[in-house]
């Protein structure tokens, strides 16, 4: 081909091919070593060698959807990080939270953010929310080999559906399994080691059509309950001023709630619970 002629380089034909608009597919063709899931994984369990992120919860409310995550990463019996962030804005109208092997998960989020932005730049429009959810499923599916060696990544995806019909709920949540299965959730969802307890908590506190404030409280309370019973989930840490990360996605886009706001919610929950304990003792 002409690109091999000495002295000239420029774009290879893969770059100039106008057909595809997926960044992952493009990397797969030109630089597959940059993709997670394309690397050989040794056939031993690597589960205790890498930090793992833990609990992520999401819940819809009347104006959109909220997603929150605790701040702990664990490596075997150790706490490897107290301030890791596991919830990110995927693009302007969607958020992604990750549980599982932190290194692979963060790489996957980075790739996913570029994937969405890349599509937007090339096509001049954003993917539909279902399209975004499907792209993420394909990415998780590619990681199945590593998942079976203990390096599973399980995300939770939520977004505001700009194409939602009038009157329909625009805030939507998608959960995944390690094989790339993609399930739309109704109302609320959780993933990670503390998800069992978080879900139990959400079941009692969440109702359809909550306001943003009530849903935030419900979400932070679920993380509190998860931290209560799961050693791998960190609770609100008033000493270090570390609070769960909470993102809100509504018609205006995805925003991260300021730490002060989450701190107030966490303080209110702690106060209510200690008041409850005192009244039982009295």
């Amino acid at each position: 081909m002409s690109e091999q002629i000495a002295g000239r380089s420029g774009f290879t034909p893969a770059y100039l091919d106008r057909v595809g608009s997926s960044f992952t597919d493009f990397l797969g063709a030109t630089a597959p070593d940059l993709l997670p899931g394309r690397r050989p994984v040794p056939a031993v369990s690597a589960a205790d060698l890498a930090p793992h992120g833990t609990t992520i919860v999401a819940a819809t409310y009347d104006g959109g959807v909220l997603m929150g995550g605790d701040r702990r990463a664990t490596m075997g019996n150790l706490i490897s990080s107290r301030d890791i962030e596991k919830v990110y804005a995927a693009d302007s109208w969607s958020v992604i939270g990750i549980a599982g092997a932190a290194g692979i998960a963060i790489e996957m989020v980075r790739l996913y953010q570029v994937e969405l932005e890349h599509y937007e730049k090339i096509e001049g429009m954003t993917l539909s929310l279902d399209g975004k959810a499907n792209r993420l499923a394909a990415m998780i599916r590619g990681n199945l080999g590593a998942a079976l060696q203990g390096l599973a990544v399980v995300p939770l995806f939520a977004g505001y559906d700009l194409d939602a019909a009038e009157g329909a709920r625009a805030g939507r949540i998608f959960s995944y399994d390690v094989t790339g299965g993609n399930y739309e959730e109704r109302g609320y969802a959780s993933v990670g080691s503390g998800s069992l307890f978080a879900r139990g908590s959400l079941k009692k506190t969440w109702r359809p059509g909550l306001s943003a404030e009530a849903a935030t409280r419900s979400l932070v309370e679920a993380l509190y309950d998860a931290a209560d019973d799961d050693s791998a989930t960190g609770g609100p840490d008033a000493v270090r001023r570390l609070y769960p990360i909470v993102y809100r996605v509504d018609a205006e886009g995805a925003v991260r709630l300021p730490d002060t706001e989450v701190a107030e919610v966490a303080a209110a929950i702690t106060a209510d619970r200690s008041a409850g304990a005192e009244s039982r003792e009295a």
């Binding site: 002409s2 690109e3 002629i5 000239r8 380089s9 420029g10 774009f11 770059y15 100039l16 091919d17 106008r18 960044f23 493009f26 990397l27 030109t30 630089a31 940059l34 701040r71 990080s81 301030d83 890791i84 962030e85 990110y88 804005a89 302007s92 109208w93 963060i106 989020v109 980075r110 790739l111 953010q113 570029v114 932005e117 890349h118 937007e120 730049k121 090339i122 001049g124 429009m125 954003t126 700009l162 018609a251 205006e252 886009g253 995805a254 925003v255 991260r256």
Partner: protein, 284 residues
């Protein structure tokens, strides 16, 4: 194999240049100019979907004239190059120079090695942290690259447009004035204005494709100006919505919170970037 007629290399190059030049001058013009808040890209383009102006990366924009299919594949290649670099290094490591160099190499090798050269002329614009750091690279069909100060005019009646601009352009104009100067220059040479036998006094908003690289925006600086926002800026609806002129939000400093891996988004800035109307009431 029979030998074709002998033609000197000089003759071949001259023929190709002439061919490319003719193709480029048939179209409508594009103007890229700096203003106090960044870089302004204006194209005379009646189509609202076949863009001549596009986003390459956070601080890099693209404008082109000539054959659509050719510059479109170059635009896509630029986006891919920028995204691969940004993904494998860091977002800050993607510069206009890298993209311009890749274009120059590509155009150069196509010009010398293929029968038909690309009939395109490109501008890679990069907005810096200060007006002095703004860069405009002009790339021609033969792969030459020029770093232009202030403004770049390409395609159509480029001579007439740049003569008009040289007369009226000043560095550091505010957006509204810069747009006025750019549109006046395009109108002076456009076939659809009265001066040249058309029906408009100046080019209307429907005939223009306008975008800015806005220095004040965090992360992705590219923004299209369309619809009512454009008409207001052009002065057509001045009386009805005088306050609609943008009040740019102060740039949110991107200080990564502890625990944030480098390059992972900017939580302070929900960013719509390209393609989306800046009016928050009407998302996408």
């Amino acid at each position: 194999m029979t030998m074709p007629y002998y033609a000197s290399a000089e003759q071949v190059m001259r023929d190709r240049s002439e061919y490319a030049r003719k193709g480029i001058s048939r179209g409508r013009s594009v103007v890229v100019l700096t203003y106090d808040g960044g870089v302004l890209l204006i194209a005379e383009n009646p189509s609202s979907t076949l863009h001549k102006v596009g986003e390459i990366y956070d601080r890099i924009g693209f404008a082109a004239v000539g054959r659509y299919s050719e510059f479109e594949s170059l635009r896509v290649a630029g986006v891919r190059l920028a995204d691969v670099r940004g993904y494998s290094y860091n977002r800050r490591d993607v510069t206009g120079r890298v993209v311009a160099n890749a274009y120059a190499q590509t155009l150069g090798s196509i010009f010398t090695e293929q029968m038909k050269p690309f009939e395109v002329e490109l501008c890679v614009a990069e907005v810096g942290a200060t007006p002095e750091a703004d860069q405009l690279y002009r790339l021609t069909f033969d792969g030459s690259v020029v770093d232009e100060p202030d403004f770049v005019v390409m395609g159509g009646q480029a001579e007439a447009v740049s003569a008009h601009l040289r007369e009226h352009f000043r560095a550091g104009l505010p957006l509204r004035d810069a747009l006025g100067v750019g549109v006046a220059a395009l109108s002076a040479a456009s076939a659809s204005t009265q001066a040249n036998g058309g029906e408009h006094s100046t080019l209307p908003a429907e005939q223009l494709e306008v975008a800015v690289l806005d220095r004040t925006r965090p992360k992705r600086t590219f923004r299209r100006i369309t619809g009512a926002a454009l008409r207001t800026l052009l002065g057509a609806e001045e009386a009805s919505t005088p306050a609609a002129e943008e009040t740019p939000a102060p740039p949110v400093p991107t200080e990564p919170a502890p625990g944030t891996p480098p390059g992972l988004g900017d939580p302070g800035a929900p960013d719509t970037a390209g393609g989306v109307d800046p009016d928050p009431g009407t998302p996408a």
